[in-house]
């Protein structure tokens, strides 16, 4: 064979073939990536994106779940106007209750989780493991079981543990109907939620504290840090900002997710004298009991807005500056 033609052939065919297989590989890779992503993206869109979008859309309509939604009066803002001006239950009970509940159990539960995690980090690993398990246990009970436990503990007759104890100690003469009373229900809800607030965010912060490089502390003490308080604010928290942020987001979500607790404890929606009525219960009341779904959707949008606001604060505090 003629050597020059062979060289020519090689020059012509090899890069072409290599390029073609590379292109084929790129296409294969693209297809594979799409297949890997598709199920999650599809499910995420259907059950998270679409519901949020639908809530926003429906909030501008009158919709009773049977007839097609109608665009609401006042340029679609009717529901919002009604909520903010006419809904006495919302303005007098639901909004103040929700804010009180969210502020105490969100940031409160968060600070509590951090303090507990920090203290756990100061002891040896074996006992730490068991104590962390004890603190985490309430968060894995779930709403139903928590309802069972606290409904019998706070039972309104003298067979309830708390009432029996109070009577034994001579503090009260007749049992208090804790869960049906407007005076006590919110307090019990706050207690139960804080008790069960040490969940995944707490574990994240514990891991974060344990992973901080010890040399950071040594350097800080050489630089003149004097006590544990300064240590926490100048070293610990700044060194674990990502975990602090994750913990904060989990605390916020936890606080709003646990909103059904008042209904679980009292056994009725609306809760007695609206004492434990939170925005989540108000949504259920309008959506699933009265079938005013447009109105309920507007309430949902307000709730999502409040959650977003809380999260913005958390990102402002702990997020890395862009």
């Amino acid at each position: 064979m003629n050597p020059t033609s062979l060289v020519g052939k090689l020059a012509a065919s090899k890069p072409g073939k290599a390029l073609r297989t590379r292109l084929e590989n790129v296409n294969k890779d693209k297809l594979s990536t799409t297949l890997l992503l598709a199920p999650y993206v599809l499910l995420f869109t259907l059950f998270i994106v679409v519901p949020v979008a639908a809530a926003i859309g429906l909030s501008f309509t009158y919709f009773n779940g049977i007839q097609a939604p109608e665009f609401a009066r006042m340029f679609g803002l009717y529901n919002y106007v009604m909520i903010l001006t006419q809904d006495e239950v919302f303005l007098r009970y639901v909004l103040p209750n929700t804010l009180k509940y969210a502020i105490i159990t969100g940031p409160g539960g968060y600070v509590l989780s951090f303090l507990m995690a920090w203290m756990l980090s100061q002891i040896q690993s074996k006992p730490r493991k068991w104590l962390a398990l004890a603190l985490y246990t309430p968060s894995m009970l779930g709403g139903v079981l928590i309802g069972v436990i606290f409904r019998t503990l706070f039972s309104g007759d003298k067979s309830g543990y708390i009432n029996a104890a109070l009577i034994n100690l001579g503090l009260v003469n007749t049992p208090i109907d804790f869960l049906q009373s407007g005076d006590y229900l919110m307090g019990i809800m706050l207690f139960v939620t804080l008790w069960s607030s040490m969940g995944i965010g707490f574990l994240s912060m514990l891991a974060g504290i344990l992973n901080i490089n010890k040399e950071m502390y040594e350097a800080a003490y050489i630089d003149g840090i004097k006590n544990r308080m300064q240590e926490i604010f100048y070293i610990t928290i700044p060194s674990m900002k990502p975990q602090m942020l994750f913990g904060a987001v989990m605390a916020i979500v936890g606080a709003f997710n646990a909103g059904g607790i008042g209904v679980a404890l009292s056994g009725s929606n609306p809760t007695p004298q609206y004492a434990g009525q939170l925005i989540v219960n108000h949504i259920d009341d309008y959506g699933f009991i009265r079938y005013e779904m447009g109105y309920a959707a507007a309430l949902s949008v307000i709730l999502l807005g409040v959650i977003l606001l809380f999260s913005r604060v958390a990102y402002r505090l702990f997020g890395e500056r862009d």
Partner: protein, 291 residues
């Protein structure tokens, strides 16, 4: 001199008297946290005579399995036996966990190691969705479930819960720790994505998968939402739902005993799984930070 650095006491190897104050605080708090759990255990093993006792006593004197026996014999008002609900819950929970793990692992791998245009956007959206509160949009979710024709089927218990933003977030962060070279080397040896996922990434990120399994388990095993809203057929409802009806209808101490027994059946799998996997969870949490 070195010992005077207070900071070196984080994660101490040895006991030091300075730790006593933490124990003095943490041990009572820890006991207080699990007190209600002890209470359920006590209730569950109490015979009727002790459940009716006044004043109520925390400690059981004659423990018995009566409550469990009665629980397993009970049936709902519509005649569906309790064991049916438990069976449903087991099937639904298992399927949900398996599917969640597969979907989350595949997506986490793509988001961590592949190059494509929307990569950053998808991750950002998922990160925003960490604060998604499903109960806030229960109604539109119900409309989606109805629109897809899932109502009244087993799928209604499973499909709406498969996309778990926290799970994807944790798995993706964990896969980020796997060196790219490992995957490149496997590719040169001719491995495709399936091999890389099952032979390399999967085994390496087991702790994160264990964590996602736990989170998914806790959500599905404990939820009553799907039974309350999506499913009408009583024979397709879950154990958590059955338990919530127990506490609503059966008033009085006898009911409380059965409810406590059911509570333990709910809680023990949770506890067992978490204790087995606690180390894995803590491993995963080391990479859980949001940047």
């Amino acid at each position: 001199m070195m010992a005077s650095f207070l900071g070196t006491q984080i994660n101490p190897k040895r006991f030091h008297p300075s730790q006593i104050k933490f124990y003095l605080f943490l041990i009572p708090v820890g006991l207080f946290m699990i007190l209600p759990v002890f209470y359920v255990v006590g209730q569950a093993f109490k015979p009727l005579s002790e459940l009716f006792l006044f004043p109520p006593r925390f400690i059981v004197s004659n423990p018995t399995l009566d409550n469990f026996a009665r629980l397993f014999r009970t049936a709902s008002g519509t005649g569906v036996p309790m064991t049916r609900y438990l069976f449903n819950s087991l099937i639904i929970t298992t399927l949900t966990i398996v599917l969640t793990l597969i979907i989350t692992l595949a997506t986490g791998y793509a988001l961590s190691k592949k190059k494509f245009r929307l990569k950053k956007t998808i991750f950002q959206i998922n990160q925003t969705a960490l604060m998604f509160v499903a109960t806030a949009v229960a109604i539109p979710r119900y409309l989606v479930v109805t629109g897809l024709g899932l109502t009244n089927s087993f799928a209604a218990h499973i499909i709406p819960y498969l996309a778990m933003p926290v799970g994807l977030f944790l798995v993706k962060q964990f896969i980020d720790q796997v060196p790219d070279e490992l995957i490149e080397a496997a590719k040169i040896d001719g491995a495709n994505d399936w091999h890389i996922l099952t032979k390399i990434i999967g085994p390496l990120v087991k702790p994160a998968l264990a964590t996602v399994a736990i989170l998914s388990f806790q959500m599905i095993w404990n939820t009553t939402e799907s039974s309350n809203i999506y499913v009408i057929d009583e024979t397709k409802k879950t154990f958590a739902f059955y338990m919530s009806t127990l506490t609503n209808s059966t008033a009085g101490p006898a009911g409380a005993g059965i409810a406590a027994a059911a509570g333990l059946v709910m809680f023990l799998p949770n506890l067992a799984i978490f204790i087995i996997m606690q180390g894995n969870v803590m491993d995963t949490m080391s990479h859980s930070g949001i940047k």
